[in-house]
């Protein structure tokens, strides 16, 4: 298999954004019938490499080789014509168009006179969804899809291209087990058909499960390209991070205090029903469930971003007025939202301003905001979270995905909350930093913080939580203490197989 010539390759490519050297002298080759993994810390340059393959960026130096001969992609269109399909790290949908149109934009099936054949469009979309094992309505608009569903549409879009090369930049970050399994099945089928695939993920077990070879980047430089057979996850981490990693889930023992956050019979019509739970100081509570179970919706309502129709939220004995994040914040709640690009960050704003946005009051000297305090605070958190950036005054939009997530964390941790709600806190974060975030959460809990964590990453749930709440179709299905929480019990509750218990 490894004898076959590379379909698509990069040769000694370099790329810089202003002062940031995103890639330096990197080569990679993607062969037919092989799934190639790309590993590296946040900001290592993976997405930049993907964008060069996709024709979004043109490299400053080096070249793109297609079937062994140099090609100059002048735009994404060129790459697509050459048979390269890409799933980008951030979903890129057209919110106002239907899901089917999103998938086939620019390549719609035609009827007579060049018109769009809507019937075929719908049928082909339905077939794709069937292949992926999901039941989305091809006619619904993309607006309002959850992050996971958006990712599914992105995958369908890439598959529909029948490409020779499929590049996937963290396709699984927002997905839970079932969808991941489906995706892997499809990917393997494509491999068997002779496609070349590039796969990026921060979940190392996925890389080992799916891929044959791995290329590791560190700080924009190529570290190694090697067969996965014969190396261990620890070896891979060593290549990525440049040092050994102790443990991914450094859970500390804490003394659990009294309940600070009490949620009682919370209901938002048509979204979730009768949700009651409490979170105590010093405790990390995980909220698990399948994608779409309504976990994010519950915490959004708790934080006051959405209104609820019935029930109550109490913090430290005082009842919160619904629908006011400001009130929730002053009661000591912080919410790290799931969608960092829309909800977590002002993409145009600088790093320091984004971090300072939640603590404008604390940054005040007299009536004015102190720029020095703002900068110091940002610098402090940047160091604590190992943020990779050029200048604190750079827009967060130019940071790599994982580093953006760190800025969101910094922004909320700096409010020094008593209740910290994190929605998918480590989505898209590299192993090194993930361990760092876990240590941080665990330390904060040990210091008496109450943490409510939503995660689709089951090992993370099991590794970090003192208690696991499981949601199924908008209701709390189970509450599982740490020592009873296993993959089986959580999945059983999340898929509704233990409904009797939940009642």
């Amino acid at each position: 298999m490894s004898e076959s010539p590379p379909i698509l390759a990069l040769e000694r490519v370099s790329m810089a954004f202003g002062a940031v050297r995103a890639l330096q002298d990197v080569s990679i080759d993607l062969r037919g019938g092989e799934i190639h993994a790309l590993a590296g810390e946040n900001g290592a340059g993976k997405s930049t490499l993907v964008k060069i393959l996709a024709g979004v960026h043109r490299p400053d130096e080096g070249q793109v080789l297609l079937d062994g001969s140099p090609r100059d992609f002048r735009g994404p269109g060129d790459a697509q014509h050459a048979g390269v399909a890409v799933i980008y790290q951030e979903p890129t949908l057209f919110p106002d168009l239907s899901v089917a149109e999103n998938i086939f934009m620019g390549r719609q099936p035609r009827a007579g006179l060049g018109r769009i054949d809507r019937r075929a469009l719908r049928a082909q979309t339905a077939a794709l969804f069937e292949r992926l094992g999901v039941s989305l309505d091809p006619d619904r608009p993309a607006r309002g899809l959850s992050i996971a569903d958006q990712q599914i549409v992105e995958i369908a879009k890439a598959l529909s291209r029948d490409a020779r090369v499929l590049v996937m930049d963290e396709p699984t970050a927002a997905l839970s087990g079932n969808e991941v399994a489906r995706l892997f099945t499809v990917a393997r089928t494509l491999r068997e058909q002779g496609c070349a695939l590039l796969f990026i993920s921060h979940r190392l077990e996925e890389i080992f499960e799916l891929c044959q070879r791995v290329t590791t980047l560190r700080d924009g430089r190529l570290i190694a390209t090697e067969e996965l057979q014969g190396i261990t996850p620890d070896d891979l981490v060593q290549r990525m991070v440049g040092r050994e990693l102790d443990t991914l889930y450094p859970k500390q023992d804490t003394t659990v205090g009294e309940a600070v956050l009490k949620v009682e019979r919370l209901t938002r019509e048509g979204v979730f029903t009768d949700v009651s739970f409490e979170v105590r100081t010093g405790e990390i509570v995980a909220l698990a469930g399948l994608v779409g179970a309504g976990r994010s919706e519950v915490v959004r309502a708790v934080f006051g971003v959405d209104r609820y129709d019935a029930g109550s939220v109490t913090v430290g004995g005082r009842r919160l007025p619904g629908g006011s994040p400001t009130a929730a914040m002053s009661a000591g709640i912080a919410l790290v939202p799931e969608d960092r690009r829309q909800q977590g960050l002002v993409m145009d704003g600088s790093i320091e301003r984004n971090i300072g946005l939640t603590t404008l009051r604390a940054l005040r000297r007299g009536p004015l905001v102190s720029r020095r305090a703002e900068r110091d605070r940002a610098a402090d958190w940047a160091i604590r979270l190992q943020l990779k950036y050029a200048r604190l005054s750079d827009a967060v939009g130019v940071l790599s995905g994982g580093n953006q997530q760190k800025v969101v964390l910094a922004k909320w941790l700096s409010t020094e909350p008593t209740v910290l709600i994190v929605d998918e806190p480590t989505r898209g974060i590299d192993v090194g930093t993930k361990a760092e975030v876990h240590r941080l959460l665990s330390e904060l809990a040990a210091d008496g913080l109450a943490v409510l964590m939503i995660s689709s990453d089951l090992p993370e749930v099991l590794g970090m939580a003192d208690r696991v709440l499981v949601m199924y179709e908008g209701r709390l299905a189970a509450e599982i203490p740490r020592d009873e929480a296993t993959e089986e019990t959580v999945v059983a509750a999340a898929t509704g197989r233990n409904r009797r218990e939940a009642a």
């Binding site: 951030e90 979903p91 949908l93 919110p95 002002v346 145009d348 946005l357 004015l368 939009g397």
Partner: protein
């Protein structure tokens, strides 16, 4: 990008590269302003006289004043097209009430209340119903102008008390600066501080750049927007009083079409119409540039039509220049990467 709201990473005013940050739009406008002033002072004898400058500044009073809240609104990604109509309504009311024998001291507070209500209506329609402000304020533009006619009809009221007329036209002793413009200077400083150095300003920028993220950060985006609309109404109404006293004439059609001049000045000052970007200094430079250039062209007997062409070209050039400079620099830095970098 999630499909709910547009993330403005590629909005055209953005100059992502630190190198290009020096060729900012507002810097270019300020440079142009200096050039125009210097050119005028050297080439046109009547231009740099204190008489003429105070005329020119006085002429700008209302546009300049209204441009301040407009800047805040545009930074918050909204717009108020009804400002000129509020000015007209305020002028008509001032005339009607003065005619009915009220004292100016009682009328002006009333005008401010009316302005606040006018702004509140705009703000409530925008924040409560979630309507686009462009549409709402096109509607209230017609409504408020209509109310001005209802109030004053075809009448024109004149003969306002001399002491108030003086306040609106005389200059601050020892300077060529008319009182209304002096008021503008003070207001501009306050606005600049609020926008660029306070938490409220940070909140306005965040609201305009990404409303949802601002809301998630505990910023009361709706309240901020509502407040900005009210401020815009109040300032426009007050500008209406100045306008009336300055010209000594209250009419329902006062200030007709002023809104586009205000918006032109704000845009010329480099404020991004998509919100989240802009500086108040740029706007002040933009206002002065438009005003002084017009004055200069008039003194040189340049036809009014040409003035319009010059204004238009100025707008185009001011947005084009930074882009072209950035493009050229990029091309020089990355001969191969230029296309992708400039189309990022």
């Amino acid at each position: 990008m999630a499909p709910d709201a547009p993330v403005k990473t590629s909005s055209p005013g953005a100059l992502p590269n630190p190198v290009t940050r020096l060729v900012r739009w507002d810097v270019i406008v300020t440079a142009l302003l200096i050039v125009v002033f210097a050119g005028g002072a050297l080439g046109t004898p009547d231009f740099a006289t204190s008489d003429n400058l105070s005329f020119a500044l006085d002429d700008l009073s209302e546009i300049a004043l209204i441009a301040l809240p407009m800047t805040l609104l545009v930074v918050a990604a909204e717009v108020d097209l009804s400002v000129a109509s509020v000015l007209g309504l305020s002028s008509a009311l001032l005339g009607a009430l003065w005619d009915a024998g009220w004292a100016i001291e009682t009328i002006i507070p009333l005008l401010i209340i009316v302005g606040a209500i006018a702004g509140l209506v705009n703000g409530l329609l925008v924040t409560r119903l979630g309507l686009p402000s462009l549409a709402v304020t096109i509607g209230t533009l017609t409504l408020y102008r209509g109310l001005a006619y209802v109030v004053l009809g075809t009448k024109a009221v004149a003969q306002f008390p001399q002491n108030y007329a003086d306040l609106a036209t005389k200059t601050v002793p020892g300077t060529p600066i008319p009182y209304p413009f002096a008021l503008f200077i003070v207001a501009a400083i306050v606005t600049a501080v609020v926008l660029h150095a306070t938490g409220a300003g940070r909140a306005i920028f965040a609201t305009g750049a990404q409303e949802e993220a601002a809301f998630f950060a505990g910023i009361r985006v709706k309240r901020i927007k509502l407040l900005l609309f009210v401020v815009s109404g109040v300032v426009s109404a007050f500008a209406g009083a100045i306008y009336t006293l300055r010209y000594g004439s209250a009419r329902a059609d006062n200030g007709l079409g002023l809104e586009l001049a205000v918006i032109a000045a704000v845009l010329l000052g480099g404020v991004d119409f998509d919100g989240g970007r802009g500086t108040l200094g740029g706007v002040v430079a933009g206002v002065l540039l438009i005003g002084l250039l017009r004055n200069l062209l008039m003194l040189r007997d340049v036809a009014t039509e040409i003035q319009s062409i010059v204004t238009g070209l100025l707008l185009i050039v001011s947005v084009l220049t930074p882009r072209i400079i950035a493009g050229v620099r990029e091309a020089r830095r990355h001969p191969r990467g230029s296309i992708s970098a400039s189309s990022q």
